[in-house]
């Protein structure tokens, strides 16, 4: 049985990597399971081929997807910047 997932690295905490799975939840993984170059923000393409006795998980960094998502975040931040009242603020 084969399945694909999209992971994004939120952060590393020591030897633990916190990873967002399919945009829904954060899980902790041993950092040693990820590609050694994986950094926070990296989008990872994951394929899982699971058999009864063996599962093969392939985790691949996807720099193009990372840059696309980063650009989308920047665009939203630029939109929000226009909502700034400026100066000191009385709440």
């Amino acid at each position: 049985m084969s399945a694909t997932q999209r992971w994004i690295v939120d952060r590393h905490e020591g030897d633990v990597s916190v990873v967002e799975i399919d945009g829904r939840r954060m899980v902790d993984l041993p950092r040693s399971l990820l590609p050694t170059a994986a950094r926070g923000d990296d989008v990872l393409s994951v394929t899982v081929e699971a058999g009864a006795d063996r599962a093969v998980v392939t985790i691949t960094r996807d720099p193009a997807a990372t840059e696309r998502d980063r650009a989308e975040a920047r665009a939203t931040i630029d939109r929000l910047r226009r909502r700034d009242p400026g100066g000191d603020v009385r709440l």
Partner: protein, 296 residues
Amino acid sequence: MFAVLLVAALAIAPQDSGTLLVRTLDVTDARIGGDAILITDSADGRARHLLIDAGEHGATVVRWLDRFHVDTLAAVILSHPHADHYGGMEDVFAHLPVRTFVYGGTPRTTVTYRRLLADIAARRIPVVTVDSGVRRLTLAVGGDSAVLTVFAPPPSCRALAGRAEGDAVNDCSIGVRLTHGGFSMLFPGDAEIPELAWWLEAPPVPLAADVLKAGHHGSDNATTPAWLDAVHPGAVMISANGRQHPFAGVLALLAARGIATYCTADNGTITVRAPRGGAWTVTPERSGRCHARTDT
């Protein structure tokens, strides 16, 4: 007769008039922790609230907000976009009105963060982006007020390939200095040694404070002798997940200086009470000393 009326008037006057409460909420669970700090200023029988960070699980923070009868947040401040600080925010925004959102404008790729920003945009909430200099926020209620001076991370956090991306998000935390009368408290987010050094080199605000919220949950990369020399706190709050944090070295450093230290993992929610013109006090939900979860 006058004396009787005066006594009666005092008896019905709000007990917390002109009082600031800073609650470091216990958002600890088996896996995660994060920060969630509720600030409440009250006077003349009214109270206004503000939240710094929202932990990772919204349900946990919402339960605390309900318990403290919070029906509106004058502002939500995000120190930096890691999930253990922003993860609970979407639920908070859905649960009650938020009047202002304050953050550092750091881009991240995680879907949950981008969804949060899109949600804030859709709600048409004013957004204060503190990516340079300082911004002063005044939380006013009745005849009282508290001031939050929010200070920016280094300029490199704004660069497209700068510190803000990848693994250096902690070092793009915004800092907050809270003052109320003679009381002050400092919140450095998860700033680590490089950002602390940048703030120490040219302090954007007075760093000395009565109480310090420890950076990065009591990790040894965020509480240093130089930082403690500058802040010189009388008490330190550590919002820790109880699994990795806090570090033994940090607890030893604080103990050696005789600084009263409280940890959410051991003490539950910790309340600092600062009445205007009076002495500040700390009340933990549970008594007990902090225990290290990492032996360095």
